[in-house]
């Protein structure tokens, strides 16, 4: 039985349609990336999964229940916007939220100490949360969301605001959770994390599902490119087998550079072999496999980083 089922789920806020006819499933013990730019409808969908907001239409089933609130003790949740009680210590924070999920206070404190020690926060156990750095506080909040050893972990933009070292640490935590049998669903607009972690990705754009499948499948939906450099003519490159189109992309050290888009199913080796046999002066070549980011743009027409960049630009302008 799937850990999560969304069937034709929609959400409207007045006249605004945040999520439209969204359907997908997540199997138990897998890591699912819920991907999309800011405003794609990820947070609304997550809130509906948790039962914090009702769906306008459609059906949601999580851990066999038709309402996330019925199984809230078996779910761990890290919201997009982080918040902690600033005057509490990390141990109290973790024990309190674990307590809300049914873990007795004594056991919660024991688990809190163990988790903090295991994740390099042992020295900060008795400090107040306001004395911790932003990254440390985020880590504590993440630990608070998993201290009750949930079967399903939902993380809304968990990597946002973390430095590269902490991002790596978080990736390991997610892997460990899945290895321990938990189902993990996390939303992000940074495709690299999903690429490294996910068994499955769901791409969301403007409230609608654009793709559901593995990372490999997503990439396969995107165009692969063969980059060639040398004393070459564009027409000759275009005539190679399997090449669908060619763009001249300037001059390189070895001569003119061309970016040849391969037709779906075409072999790059066949095109290269043909180029050498026909005596084309190829001095440098490179096969460009599409990234998840490329696949996202191809599949949705959106750039997942665009909103983030615009936000950063606005912040910089405001700072100036």
């Amino acid at each position: 039985m799937p850990a999560l089922v969304l069937d034709d789920v929609s959400k409207r806020y007045g006249a605004f349609q945040a999520v439209r006819d969204l359907s997908f499933q997540v199997e138990p013990g897998t890591i699912c990336g819920f991907l999309g730019p800011n405003g794609a409808g990820k947070t609304s969908t997550i809130r509906m999964m948790l039962g914090l907001q009702p769906a306008s239409s459609g059906r949601i089933e999580i851990l066999g229940a038709d309402d996330g609130r019925k199984v809230r003790d078996r779910i761990g949740f890290l919201p997009e916007e982080r918040g902690v009680y600033k005057k509490m210590t990390p141990v109290d924070t973790i024990a309190f939220f674990a307590g809300l999920k049914g873990v007795p206070t004594g056991e919660g404190r024991k688990r809190a100490r163990a988790l903090l020690d295991a994740h390099g926060l042992g020295a900060s156990k008795t400090k107040k949360m306001k004395a911790l750095s932003k990254g440390m506080a985020q880590k504590v909040q993440l630990l608070a969301s998993i201290a009750h050893q949930p079967e399903f972990v939902i993380l809304d933009e968990p990597f946002s605001g973390l430095d590269p070292v902490n991002q790596q640490g978080l990736e390991q935590i997610i892997r460990d959770l899945a290895a321990g049998g938990a189902t993990v669903l996390f939303s992000t607009h940074v495709m690299q994390h999903a690429e490294r972690l996910c068994d499955k990705v769901v791409l969301l754009a403007r409230g609608q599902k654009a793709f559901e499948g593995t990372v490999t499948e997503a990439r396969a939906r995107s165009t692969r490119f063969l980059e060639l450099e040398g004393a070459l003519e564009q027409a000759a490159v275009a005539a190679l087998p399997g090449v669908a189109s060619v763009d001249a992309v300037g001059e390189g050290e070895g001569g003119a550079k061309f970016r040849a888009a391969l037709a779906p199913g075409a072999e790059a080796q066949a095109a290269l072999r043909s180029a050498f046999i026909s005596g084309l002066d190829v001095r440098r070549f490179e096969m460009r496999e599409p990234t998840l980011h490329d696949a996202f743009i191809d599949l949705t027409g959106d750039d997942p980083d665009q909103d983030q960049r615009q936000t950063e630009i606005r912040a910089e302008e405001a700072a100036r």
């Binding site: 949740f77 918040g83 939220f97 969301s145």
Partner: protein, 479 residues
């Protein structure tokens, strides 16, 4: 329910563990003590003025003995009033009045002896108020001098640092009509204590002389003025079934105290709740809480946590009050206890206390869920504060005249019920009024909990500010 208790415990601990909470808890008794102590110190700290009286050079008959008599009478009146005030709570108004009469007619010592019998605790702690002025002999340099030389001697005496220092010198005389008058010289131009005392004394002297001239015995007039009738009040509804005593005034005092206490508890408790929710919404903790507990559990937990906090304050004040009354006024403590136990008053007060707190706590909690800053909350608080002002204005009337039509009607209006019925309850209103008031209040509480629950859930996760439009959407179940 465990979740609600856990949230309540965290809420309670978040405030109870702060130094500020304990400081504010102790602030009221501390400042009350300081206030009372300061009044005492001001009264006791005011030095007695040394005043010398000098007869006019041309005086046909001395006026000083009459002035001294008048000053002594004034002092006796002041002591008699102090004895009455000190004895009234322990001995009751009738006995206190009798002690005053005794002090006026027979002097301080007989009155104090009687006070030790009827109000021993008050007598043990009683000390007579200091007199405002002390009469001292005028320096010979003044009495022996005349004209300008006498004035120069007065100036010199008031400038002198020799003990006893003179604070004022009254040069007694008579005006054109022969009435007592004086030229008062004081050491400090801003000091008017001697002026007040001398003026009162001269008025008394003039009164006596006028009576004598009219052929009336001044002693008879004084006796008539000092007479206090032995008046005793009786009522079939008094605690004793006959004579009215301080015990019968207690219900009114308790009603007023409970009404104000409830009002201040609602204001402080509900404000703490609102600020707590606002803070959690602003810091985004609320979303995590909502993923871990139901709206009802969160609201119940918060309301319960702050209720425990206010009960801690209440219990601390109650303990302080009981200790103070046990030490100084055990009879009053016993009377308060008997008033609270009479006719189920304590039960009614508890119902109105819990009802009032619950009603406003859930409303304030819901408001907090729509706000992230106190400024957001201000516009929403305005109408509620206006509602809360009404019982504050009517409460005193409710205590004085609990059956006044305005009070009766307003106490049955559910938002005012907790405060006004608390104030009226000690006066034993009819049972039907209690039932009607509690019924109306209960209905409003149920409506407030239902509406606030919806509003809390809608507000906690949205950035929408609460307005009549968004409230309408909440009622309709929109999100």
């Amino acid at each position: 329910m465990n979740r609600a208790l856990l949230i309540a415990r965290r809420e309670y601990g978040a405030y109870a563990r702060t130094v500020g909470f304990w400081l504010s808890l102790l602030a009221l008794p501390f400042f009350a003590g300081i206030g009372g102590g300061m009044a005492y110190l001001v009264e006791r700290g005011d030095p007695v003025r040394n005043v010398a009286f000098v007869e006019a050079e041309t005086a046909e008959r001395p006026m000083t003995p009459a002035v001294l008599d008048a000053l002594a009478l004034e002092q006796r009146k002041s002591i008699a009033q102090s004895i009455r005030s000190a004895a009234v709570t322990e001995a009751g108004p009738q006995e206190a009045e009798r002690l005053r009469s005794l002090a006026l007619q027979e002097g301080t010592e007989p009155a104090l002896a009687e006070m030790r019998r009827v109000a021993p605790r008050a007598a043990a702690g009683f000390s007579a108020p200091d007199q405002d002025v002390r009469v001292v002999d005028a320096p010979e340099a003044i009495t022996s001098a005349t004209g300008e030389a006498r004035i120069e001697a007065v100036r010199a005496a008031l400038a002198s640092e020799a003990e006893p220092q003179l604070d004022a010198i009254a040069l007694l005389g008579r005006d054109a009509a022969g009435a007592p008058s004086a030229e008062l010289w004081v050491r400090k131009a801003s000091d008017r204590e001697a002026e007040f005392a001398v003026r009162d004394a001269l008025i008394e002297v003039n009164r006596r002389e006028s009576l004598e001239r009219a052929g009336v015995d001044p002693g008879l007039v004084s006796g008539l003025e000092l007479f206090r009738p032995d008046l005793q009040s009786f009522s079939p509804s008094s605690a004793s079934g006959a004579e009215v005593s301080f015990r019968d005034q207690l219900p009114g005092i308790i009603g007023l105290a409970i009404g104000f206490l409830l009002w201040s508890l609602v204001i402080t408790g509900a404000s703490i709740l609102m600020n707590s929710v606002m803070e959690e919404k602003a810091s985004k903790v609320l979303e995590v809480l909502l993923s871990s507990a139901s709206t009802t559990e969160i609201m119940v937990g918060k309301v319960l946590g702050v209720a425990m906090l206010t009960l801690t304050v209440l219990a601390a004040y109650a303990v302080m009050g009981i200790v103070a009354l046990t030490s100084f006024q055990p009879q009053v403590l016993a009377d308060v206890g008997s008033v609270l136990m009479e006719g189920g008053l304590l039960i009614y007060l508890l119902i109105y206390l819990v009802g009032g707190y619950l009603l406003y706590a859930v409303i304030f909690t819901a408001i907090g869920a729509f706000c992230e800053t106190p400024r957001d909350a201000q516009t929403l608080m305005g109408p509620i504060m206006m509602v809360l002002i009404v019982p504050l204005l009517v409460m005193q009337l409710a205590v004085r005249t609990p059956d006044a039509p305005l009070v009766k009607i307003l106490s049955l209006v559910p938002p005012f019920t907790p405060f006004l019925m608390s104030a009226r309850a000690p006066s034993q209103p009819p049972l039907i009024e209690h039932v009607g008031a509690i019924g109306g209040m209960a209905l409003l509480i149920v409506l407030a909990i239902w509406l606030s629950g919806r509003a809390f859930r809608a507000g906690a996760l949205s950035d929408v500010k609460l307005s009549w439009k968004s409230l309408g959407s909440v009622v309709r179940g929109g999100n």
